[in-house]
Symmetry: C2
Subunit: 174 residues, 2 copies
DNA sequence: CGGCTGACTTTCCAACGGAATAGCCAGCAC
DNA sequence: GTGCTGGCTATTCCGTTGGAAAGTCAGCCG
């Protein structure tokens, strides 16, 4: 396994600034965005159904077959993903059969793309059989990576990152 | 909730190319990098312990207290994360007490940074109380985002992405 | 009409995640 | 030595996840 050349002993992680310097001035209590995300996509079945949705899978039988999930679990999780607004049901009609529903990604579901790419990247660094599906830029054929950047466009490393408690301005992006 | 302006009806997701066009020519069976990642960080406790590690938390009592996990769960999950190589135990000695261990991120753990940032980004778009911790670029003070790029440096959207079955060349990056 | 089919839905089960509680144990203070 | 303390460890309990298998149900076909 890579990543074992060990002088990372005391490399810094993010720097805490402002009120966040005193960790005990503050508690994560319901504010953590990661926990909020995990409530919706924190299960194996949710993530791999979304993987299939990103790969273009839409129909119930395709989603169950390609994920290897039992139809009971797939149905339950798809229902939750629809309720949570990550997928939407769209009617379709195959000639000679009755109307059924496809599951398509909503904007909210699509906005998970960086998470999916980041997880694929990271999973690819782990030991295990090489191969599998890879994502490339249609324009140039190069592999995709999830990169951390600031809104000003700079690439940002972990060491260059500061963590602060958000000024509560602008409650939600309208 | 944002993301409900609905003409996303038939927007494409990734385009399958090569052998991957025929979905049934291939099965995910142990190849999916996301599933591989989830085996290590697929639990709530693993993710929020890592969150604390990125925020600079190192000691057992701090990690349990700041995550709100019971010490039993924290101990078990920390052990797993150490076994899996995401954290490493480092001895320290507080005057007047015996030697104890801090948990520090290894290179492998640090390489989860894009995943953590992507999940925070996505979680921030969900409904719920605004505020909490935010990450900024120390250089310019702008918020961090996880962006999807190709190795040639182009920003890549979901529509510009192609999925293919990896040519099995170069088994692991040496 | 009654049968068939695909998409769920329900029921039952084993395994797992996580909380609460109690117990253990190394080693410093005394 | 004894006691104390912090970091685990074991036990119990409960809710959730997920597999298997059977049941339901809409609606097209005959």
């Amino acid at each position: 396994m890579a990543h074992t050349q060990e002088p990372e002993a005391d490399r810094p992680v993010v720097t805490r600034v402002g009120r966040f310097v005193d960790r005990d001035a503050w508690t994560a209590e319901g504010w953590c965005k990661i926990e909020r995300a995990l409530e919706l996509v924190g299960t194996r079945s949710a993530m791999i159904l979304l993987r299939e949705a990103f790969y273009g899978g839409r129909r119930f039988d395709e989603l169950t077959r390609r994920t290897g999930l039992s139809d009971a679990v797939a149905a339950k999780r798809l229902k939750q993903l629809v309720d949570d607004g990550l997928l939407r049901q769209q009617p379709y009609r195959e000639p000679g059969t009755r109307t059924r529903h496809e599951y398509v990604l909503t904007e909210l579901g699509r906005s998970l793309f960086p998470v999916v790419v980041a997880m694929m990247n990271w999973g690819a660094t782990l030991a295990g059989p090489a191969g599998g599906v890879e994502l490339v830029h249609a324009g140039c054929g190069e592999l995709l990576r999830a990169a951390v950047r600031c809104t000003a466009g700079h690439d940002v490393t972990l060491e260059e990152t500061e963590a602060q408690i958000a000024r509560a301005k602008r409650a939600r992006r309208a």
